[in-house]
Symmetry: C2
Subunit: 297 residues, 2 copies
């Protein structure tokens, strides 16, 4: 197949996919049955359940005060970046573009919570951005922080999501809690897992692309690097990882489509959906996603 007909075939595939599929994320008003869920798995399509986790204790109880109270004695893992751009492509001082991971520190939950609340209330550039997450590590593929460092909160969250457990015949591989403010943005990326996002406090804005739109995202290999503390200063600098293998990562951002488009990017039809507190989003494995959040809802 020559280059021209290959390009035509890829364009045709992306265009047919948009044509045959909805341009919005399906919205359910109640939790699906395992069979209804499995129909979405078969179609490889996301959906939202409005109010799907509104009955959880977490959704009813959690507030900054409650979390601080429960977690007061705990130390947690915190990711720190200069601009809220964890796990993203950043140009280093050498001019080389790297896939850059955040600086990770352990700190008291109360310190973290104070900092992200204070920053949320500050206008303009307010210094380093913190985000609570637990990265996948070599030791522990399935990060699973809710049953780990947030164990003290795990009683407020359902043990699993019955319709997904029954349909997939599997307990959750991991249950993760993320806490951040509106300064954190997650770059376009994909996961190998079937994901169900449950919004507990505030809201989250998702932009999604199907795996079939891979030619739109311009994946390239990047050397990996990590933010480290700048000697003497209070800032961070990028340090290339030693013996690091290259990481494939998208170069196109569907929310800033004019930057680094591939010739197929204009054909991409991103789906956008907002999760409010109490909503759930099923995102099939290997879909592309980016999101940012508004902690105030």
């Amino acid at each position: 197949m020559d280059t021209c007909s290959l390009e035509g075939a890829i364009s045709g595939l992306i265009e047919s996919y948009s044509e045959f599929n909805s341009q919005s994320v399906d919205e359910l008003e109640e939790e699906p049955s395992p069979l209804e869920f499995m129909r979405y798995v078969a179609l490889n399509r996301p959906f939202v359940v409005r109010g799907g986790c509104s009955h959880w204790l977490a959704t009813k109880r959690w507030s900054a005060g409650y979390l601080e109270d429960r977690m007061s004695s705990a130390r947690i893992n915190v990711a720190i970046t200069p601009h809220g751009n964890a796990d993203a492509i950043v140009t280093g001082s050498s001019g080389i573009e790297y896939f850059v991971k955040p600086l990770e520190v352990q700190e008291p939950f109360s310190t973290f919570l104070k900092d992200i609340r204070q920053q949320e209330n500050t206008c303009g550039d307010s210094g380093l951005v913190k985000y609570a997450q637990t990265r996948e590590s070599q030791q522990c593929k399935e990060n699973d922080n809710l049953r780990g460092e947030y164990f003290l909160l795990s009683g407020d969250v359902e043990r699993d999501i019955a319709w997904a457990r029954i349909a997939l015949e599997k307990e959750p591989d991991a249950v993760n809690l993320w806490i951040g403010n509106s300064k954190s943005v997650t770059a376009l990326h994909k996961d190998n897992y079937e994901n169900i996002y449950c919004q507990i406090i505030g809201s989250k804005y998702f932009t999604l692309l199907s795996p079939l739109e891979v030619a739109c995202v311009g994946e390239r290999n990047f050397r990996s690097a990590t933010y480290v503390k700048d000697k003497g200063g209070k800032g961070l600098r990028i340090e290339e990882d030693e013996g690091g293998q290259e990481i494939p990562f998208p170069t196109w951002d569907p929310d800033r489509p004019e930057i680094r488009p591939t010739k197929f990017s204009p054909l991409g039809k991103p789906l956008r959906v907002k999760l409010n507190a109490g909503d759930m989003l099923y995102l099939p494995a290997l879909w592309w996603e980016l999101y940012w959040m508004n902690p105030r809802g």
Copy 2:
């Protein structure tokens, strides 16, 4: 992407698919629930239900005598070919390869049945091969012959297959009966429909390739033609269809892999399965299939 890396990517895709999937068709000992069925739909994988239609009246009652009795007065549509190769690529006298459709005639069911039984009992080349089917036509996309010309037999067959109807939220688009002898072979082809084959009498041998192995089958466009009666003689000749559009069709046969292979054909891993009387096969839409039958089981 240059040609070399494209070929590498396609080879890698086919090899990974074989590596991650079973090299045989799953066998169930009882009918699946709608949810169990939907898991196979989600995986896009075929399965067999051993004895899945063994309780049908058709499986219990049908024999040559019973069919003749019920259908005695009926005329049916019969496909006739020189070598049992309906809807296959055949080289015409001009040296051009065509996608050739069978000669279609209407005849009494009893004549058809006598002929295919007689031929089954004849050794060697025994003349033209008959096969009862109803081709998809412009007028009627969903051929659906059991509820049409075989209406007199339709009471012996379940109205639908509950687990598929419930899972897919759809009545069957079409219910088709095929009757033939061991001289008929169906060339590798694909359908746009989710298919459930129910073996009523005899056995059928399937060879299957997943849609992902498309690069193995060497699809090409062929002019379409039809077998017509040779003037004067008793034989058939190929006549190109007028104003016929070109038909895309595979050129590789996984059961005769040395003929017309593509460079990817050696990577194809055909699945093979035999259906006995009373067995069902779920074949997902767009899988490649070929089959031949043994009316004696």
